[in-house]
């Protein structure tokens, strides 16, 4: 088993998908969380002065959150059963990346009322139309999962997106019109290895 050290801030953010993948697959890893005050000292040693970074066997460094997550998914049988399924999973991951980007204006707004307003707009213009398409895809695929017949990191990525503290706070009803997606999110959260990780991970604001 390779030795993994996942380096990131003490937030869910861009590392959470990798943490969930490793936890789901029951793969031990060093969940190395740094304080913001430690960041300037570490920054120069990172391949592109950014985190998350995955260190493998103490030597090899991999940067970019989705690249790390894809590498771990592939290594631990969570990427899809064949090359076409792997690409479909990649496609869904890129969709979730765009969804996260869409939430940034919401995160930046500090006034609670304005924040809810901005969220409602983002929800109407981006989240709901996308969730509707995902719902159709889930129904068509018929297995309960986004890709093929089994769980992939794509399912985990949607789980992570729809269970952020901000989503819980502002978007409690977002999945009400999308029962298959809602069921998938619940299913991922109930997977014993993921449930255990969620119950024991540090509690952070994002």
């Amino acid at each position: 088993m390779p030795n993994y050290k996942l380096i990131y801030f003490n937030v869910r953010g861009r590392a959470e998908l990798s943490r969930l993948i490793l936890s789901c697959a029951n793969v031990p890893f060093e969940d190395y969380r740094i304080e913001h005050s430690d960041w300037p000292a570490i920054k120069q040693d990172m391949p592109f002065k950014q985190i998350p970074v995955l260190q493998v066997d103490g030597v090899n460094l991999l940067a970019q959150s989705n690249t790390i997550a894809r590498y771990l998914a592939r290594q631990h049988q969570l990427a899809g059963q064949n090359e076409w399924e792997q690409s479909q999973a990649d496609m869904f991951i890129d969709c979730v990346y765009d969804l996260h980007a869409g939430m940034r204006p919401v995160a930046r707004e500090k006034d609670p009322e304005k924040q809810q307003e901005i969220f409602d707009k983002v929800n109407e213009e981006m989240i709901q139309p996308h969730a509707k398409k995902i719902e159709e895809i889930l129904i068509k695929n018929g297995s309960g999962f986004l890709v093929g017949n089994a769980l992939t990191w794509a399912d985990i990525a949607y789980y992570a997106y729809f269970t952020t503290p901000m989503m819980d706070h502002l978007g409690g009803q977002v999945l009400e019109s999308h029962p298959h997606l809602k069921k998938l999110i619940q299913h991922v959260g109930d997977i014993p290895t993921i449930k255990k990780y969620i119950e024991t991970r540090p509690v952070t604001s994002r």
Binding site: L62, Q64, Y71, S87, D90, M91, D94, C95
Partner: protein, 204 residues
């Protein structure tokens, strides 16, 4: 022989990397382009209301990097082993971030403001990235970003930096001689050169 149809605007934009991969590997494909005004006609037929979309024997794949990665893997441009494949993925993600950074510049119509935003982007985002990138290229020592031979990561850097220098001048890669050499190398690959000379001329 699998049938590929790549559906995108008549622009380079987010469709170009897939086109470069296919041309480099001399894989036949239908390069389906439409003008902006025709977008509403094609939008509803796409998986997520966006292009590019790649149809593989009629089955759709969306998202520009997912498409490019699939084609790179199918046609031997993704890296020689799983670690190299991840390294290539990493570099392509870096380019994706840089592309996103250019959007405020492209959408700014005031020329003075555009210059300001560009300078800020070069200083705060591009140059720090290139500093690290030069180190990686020197460390790898082959002239390529990953391993000993060309991968889609090299094509991605060419695809981004070649138009950057066209649009904003040679100075973009002034402090990055290894990247400059790589970009020139890719530009001179016969299949790439031929495609670039014959492709539709578009602003983006």
């Amino acid at each position: 022989m699998v049938h590929y149809k790549l559906i995108y605007f008549n622009l380079r934009g987010r469709g170009e990397l897939a086109r470069l991969i296919l041309h480099h590997q001399e894989v036949a494909f239908e390069d389906f382009r439409f003008e902006r005004e025709e977008w509403t006609k094609y939008k509803t037929g796409t998986p997520f209301g966006q292009v590019p979309v790649l149809e593989v024997d009629g089955k759709p794949l969306a998202q520009s990097n997912a498409i490019a990665r699939y084609l790179a893997r199918q046609h031997g441009l993704a890296g020689q082993n799983e670690w190299e494949q991840s390294q290539a993925d990493m570099y392509v993600d870096c380019i994706y971030d840089l592309i996103s950074g250019t959007r405020p510049i492209i959408h700014e119509s005031d020329k003075e403001k555009q210059k300001e935003i560009l300078q800020k982007f070069l200083k705060e985002t591009v140059n720090p990235h290139l500093e690290k990138l030069e180190q990686q290229l020197i460390k790898n020592g082959t002239g390529f970003l990953v391993g000993k031979s060309i991968t889609w990561a090299d094509l991605a850097y060419y695809s981004f930096f070649s138009p950057m220098t066209e649009r904003f001048g040679d100075s973009v890669m002034d402090n990055s001689p290894h990247l400059k050499k790589l970009v020139e190398h890719v530009a001179n690959i016969p299949q790439i050169k031929k495609y670039v000379e014959t492709r539709p001329k578009t602003t983006l």
